[in-house]
């Protein structure tokens, strides 16, 4: 009886437009027709969006309100290579690494649904390796700035708020990447071991982990634009 009801709703639900929203929200049952883990991950990511926005907005606020000139990011983050200073070199490389890791993650999700365990595991581990590389480069960046005397309360380049914003924003993002690496490796090893095969071949978890990973990449897009380029 209950199962019959579920299938009946799924069949009667309008597929598109505002009618589908009204219909989904007035079901008296499940609103989101996605696995529940995926809906929860999305809700978590929306809340995380608010946290990162708060950081970026506070950065915007202190940058607007300071009477001292803001340090020029393209000089502060320049790297000496090929005999001259190249602006934002390391940051650009980090951006490309994170985008590449998003690409490999998207493919891992795809192979997960095809139940190709070897390729899924390999692609997820490659993604995690790119993530670890990103964190390593960020550690290098932090070390370089700290050696140059950047602190959350002062720096030699200009407005004091620069250090606080930098460590807070990139630190929180780096923490997300680090957690993501652990998450991806955990899921990848479980895929390899065949845990999800025993659970009926459901590889939703790969997509859910992927959502988190793409979100980390997404946040970096905004940090890159607002903190490093602006």
């Amino acid at each position: 009886m209950a199962e019959h009801g579920v299938t009946a709703i799924a069949e009667e639900t309008p597929a598109e437009g505002w009618r589908s929203i009204v219909s989904d929200w007035s079901q008296d049952k499940q609103t989101f027709h996605v696995p529940w883990g995926k809906a929860m991950m999305w809700i978590f990511l929306v809340s995380d969006t608010f946290i990162f926005t708060c950081f970026l907005v506070s950065y915007m606020n202190v940058r607007i309100s300071t009477a001292v000139p803001w340090p020029n990011p393209s000089e502060v983050f320049a790297l000496h290579a090929f005999g001259r200073d190249i602006p934002l070199l390391l940051i650009a490389i980090m951006t490309f690494i994170l985008i590449t890791s998003s690409g490999t993650m998207a493919m891992a999700v795809n192979y997960g649904y095809r139940r190709d365990r070897a390729r899924t595991t390999a692609l997820m581990l490659i993604t995690a390796a790119f993530g670890a590389t990103f964190v390593g480069m960020q550690a290098f960046e932090w070390t370089k700035l700290i050696m140059e005397g950047v602190r959350p309360w002062e720096n030699p380049f200009g407005a004091e708020q620069f250090g606080a914003s930098f460590f807070m924003i990139t630190g929180f993002h780096g923490m997300h990447v680090s957690i993501g690496v652990i998450y991806l490796v955990t899921v990848a090893l479980k895929v390899l071991r065949g845990d999800y095969e025993r659970a009926g071949g459901n590889y939703e978890i790969v997509e859910i982990a992927g959502l988190y990973w793409h979100f980390v990449d997404l946040v970096w897009v905004f940090i890159f634009a607002f903190f490093y380029l602006w």
């Binding site: 437009g17 505002w18 589908s20 929203i21 989904d24 929200w25 609103t31 989101f32 027709h33 996605v34 696995p35 809906a39 999305w42 990511l45 929306v46 969006t49 608010f50 926005t53 907005v57 506070s58 915007m60 606020n61 607007i64 309100s65 300071t66 009477a67 393209s74 602006p87 934002l88 650009a92 951006t95 490309f96 985008i99 590449t100 998003s102 690409g103 993650m105 998207a106 493919m107 999700v109 795809n110 997960g112 649904y113 095809r114 139940r115 009926g200 459901n202 590889y203 997509e207 992927g210 959502l211 793409h214 990449d217 997404l218 897009v221 905004f222 890159f224 634009a225 380029l229 602006w230």
Partner: protein
């Protein structure tokens, strides 16, 4: 096998997942690379509306592709899409309010810090 190659759903336990051709991910990946390169090159422009506009343009393009394609939001049902995309809209108010507040703080600081200078200047 042909259905698997074209990324179509092919029954079994995998049938209710997001399954799309690998090619679309490669294309988006390449686009993200190109847009990242473009946004990197905005760093060579002078600070001004052209630079800021291009930074925002490439940022939103990249964000849009990541959310729509990589995170599969383009293929989700509208109820989920709106539940995810509408709450962040209120953040625009936060951004606007804090920008106004920042301006106000800056003006107050400029006023406060600059006050002694004109007096000493006029005394000489």
């Amino acid at each position: 096998m042909a259905t698997v190659e074209s990324g179509q759903v092919h029954g079994g336990a995998a049938s209710h997942g997001q399954q799309h051709p690998i090619k679309i991910y490669i294309v988006i990946w390449a686009l993200l690379f190109v847009f990242s390169a473009f946004s990197y090159f905005t760093d060579f422009l002078d600070h001004g509306w052209l630079r800021w506009g291009l930074i925002l343009l490439f940022m939103f393009l990249k964000a849009g592709f990541i959310v729509a394609i990589f995170m599969h939001l383009a293929w989700e049902r509208l109820a989920l899409i709106y539940a995810i995309l509408t709450p962040p809209v209120v953040l625009l108010f936060l951004i606007a309010l804090m920008a106004i507040e920042g301006d106000y703080t800056l003006l107050t600081r400029l006023d406060f810090f600059s006050e002694p200078a004109p007096i000493t200047a006029s005394e000489h």
